[in-house]
Symmetry: C2
Subunit: 460 residues, 2 copies
Amino acid sequence: MQFCYCGISNNKIDNVNECQLSAELKQEIHSYEAVANKIIEEIVHGKFKGHTYDMLAKFIDKFGPRLTGTQNLEDSIDYMVELSKNLSLSNVYTEQVTVPAWKRGPASLRISSPINREIPVMAIGLSNGGKVTAEAVVVASFQELEALSDDQIKNKIVVYNPAFTSYGETVKYRSRGASVAAAKGASAALVRSVTQKSIRSIHTGMQTYLPNTNKIPVGTISLEDADMLHRIHKRGEKIVLELDIDTSLSEGTSRNTFVDLSGSQPNISRPIVVVSGHIDSWDIGDGAMDDGGGVMVSLAALHFMKELSLTAKRTVRAIFWTAEEQGLLGAEAHVKSHKEEEDLLSFAMESDMGTFAPRGLDFSGSHEAGCIIQEILQLLSPINATEFKTPLDGGPDITFWAQNGVPASSLLNANEEYFWYHHSVGDSMLVEDPHNLDLCAAVWTVVSYVVADLNMPLPR
Amino acid sequence: MQFCYCGISNNKIDNVNECQLSAELKQEIHSYEAVANKIIEEIVHGKFKGHTYDMLAKFIDKFGPRLTGTQNLEDSIDYMVELSKNLSLSNVYTEQVTVPAWKRGPASLRISSPINREIPVMAIGLSNGGKVTAEAVVVASFQELEALSDDQIKNKIVVYNPAFTSYGETVKYRSRGASVAAAKGASAALVRSVTQKSIRSIHTGMQTYLPNTNKIPVGTISLEDADMLHRIHKRGEKIVLELDIDTSLSEGTSRNTFVDLSGSQPNISRPIVVVSGHIDSWDIGDGAMDDGGGVMVSLAALHFMKELSLTAKRTVRAIFWTAEEQGLLGAEAHVKSHKEEEDLLSFAMESDMGTFAPRGLDFSGSHEAGCIIQEILQLLSPINATEFKTPLDGGPDITFWAQNGVPASSLLNANEEYFWYHHSVGDSMLVEDPHNLDLCAAVWTVVSYVVADLNMPLPR
């Protein structure tokens, strides 16, 4: 998950009591109770128990990090294409996307005054390289930086040490910190990792240079070291840092991957339901959580429906987006080049906020569509995943569609620890749990199947 | 904290109701209520608020890791000697101890089959160096290893991936895993880090080669990577690892540090009360938690008593033990060379299990002494630190004394996350909290002052 796109929709549905679905529609939804129970039973306790975890573990153990622009990502895409075909899913294809191939070289940071010590550092994604030795100025916020004169910042290294409030709020220092510091004449910037918890972990991510500012190198450091620099700065001691970041940037290509479980009625109204996640990851962790889990529950949903001979009226399409971490580039390219297909979509789902114990769904779309989703969520009562929240707060790749009115849901799950591991070496299979992955796969399967099989599409 | 020495004492005092202290003694203890309240008030809300944290932060920021045998440890000891003198404490001196000067060189681990990837690794303390390329056998326990034939282990690398149960139970793989594997012919060993939680963190510590076994190199890897190797092994795929560990071992010297706040009645019965922590740390984290906090609350107790003009009848002595991490060597040397002084001790306290929110004290000693400590803990009601547990489960350095009958207490605190950071790069000021350090310093000051000032020593 790269950014949070919050508050896309104005359709706030706070209370299930506000819904007034027809008795007929309610009855239709409730008629899926037996099949929903069967799906849940087979995935959580029956013949598919543990399969999603095993498929994910094999994938993650084989490929590990899958940075946009690397051969390893493309190999992992080939593997998912083969796996999908081996699972007898139809219409498996990829579409090429032009992407930046940004590479991380060695990075080092040393504090040489008032103490002499190496500090672990990592370039922030898309940062330029550079070698800077300069005095450091440590601030807790943009406001604090703005209160300083340009003379106080010129040729310095600005260190941002903001407290974590929310990801959406705090990530601005990672994404714009370099340009804001450069605008005041800084030579380089360092940003406290965006996480609530740390075992001296470093968390990377993307940043964007703003127009008309120097493209200065920017790195991220641990909470521990950002705090240390802040303490020394507050004591009034002059800090000298030696930063050396090596990066390179070229153009590459990658691919979005599409896998269909074809519907029985291709001419039905809005004949496609999408389940999705992104296959690319950052280069340092294993990308199990961000977003191997989302990719694998999406494939699992199709696989389990196929195995259970559940053919919905509509096609359920799994999409494994690429280059999400570089700015939702795979999704953006697809939406742009397939504008005419948007009308074919009944519903778009994405899991990119973790696959911990599922609680239900986030949603953006019309009031009536939201009411239908709430009703469908009742089918997940056996696994307590009936929670409904709106608007969408996650599901970054499907935001383009959601903004254009396509009903869209992100997996709501018990992801309180998500940012502890996010974009760090800690994003691994250790945070994935077989039972929780089964539960997530059950949510994905039940919801996508029912929406794909309803007589009417989700209303816009 | 190196090892847990649990269950030293057989004197189990489970219930305060079992205590039958004389009314006179109870009255004497309760007469300290006003002074205890004054101590707590000044440390937690008054003129000493935040001082312990600030003193600790300055110390940690200046020295960071303080491995036994390094000049940095000796410099940090000099600093504490100077600081103690500057705080006008008396009788500040050090005593030399012969210690191993074990040094960590570079270490690398690569899995070359069935995948090719670097795996972060670290030598376990006192491991020999060595370069081994071999097939890996992954086991979850010693029992699982024993069930394999020597032929299955000969010339292999044994990887231990035990689940964390308790530190005391799980640390045996780190401390004896190399020798147990070597006894079956293994060429090297790797051990899952001893922690419940990980962001791919690696946790070092000490190991001991058992007699008559090959001293094979042994490293520790993260939970994430141990799990990965275990998964691949369970799939029946052959794992080839390339391990290269560089270490060196020579003899060095270090020093225990002693600081007194002299008592008013040197000829009183058992005229010394000890507060202590260890000043050495592992070489990778900052040693703020293990055990900078214990050292600093001990110094703070003396400093605050001095500032509050609280002169007890007995001397309160702060000891900053050295080489705890290498096997309690500072404490062992001191106890051996000062056998005759044991009779002078009324009470020995140690903080080496973290300085999080204090809950009270662990204790080993006679039933009556335990009853007195429970009564004294009532004085800590204003900060809810009245909990009493027995026997001692922590306080490793003072165990030698406790085993010989000296009443001894370890700081009981809300350290549920202690092992998340223990012996890792995560042991830093980030886990220390100014308010909690104030509370710990208040516990240390109240208890040591009252025990030092009682008319009678704690009975043996």
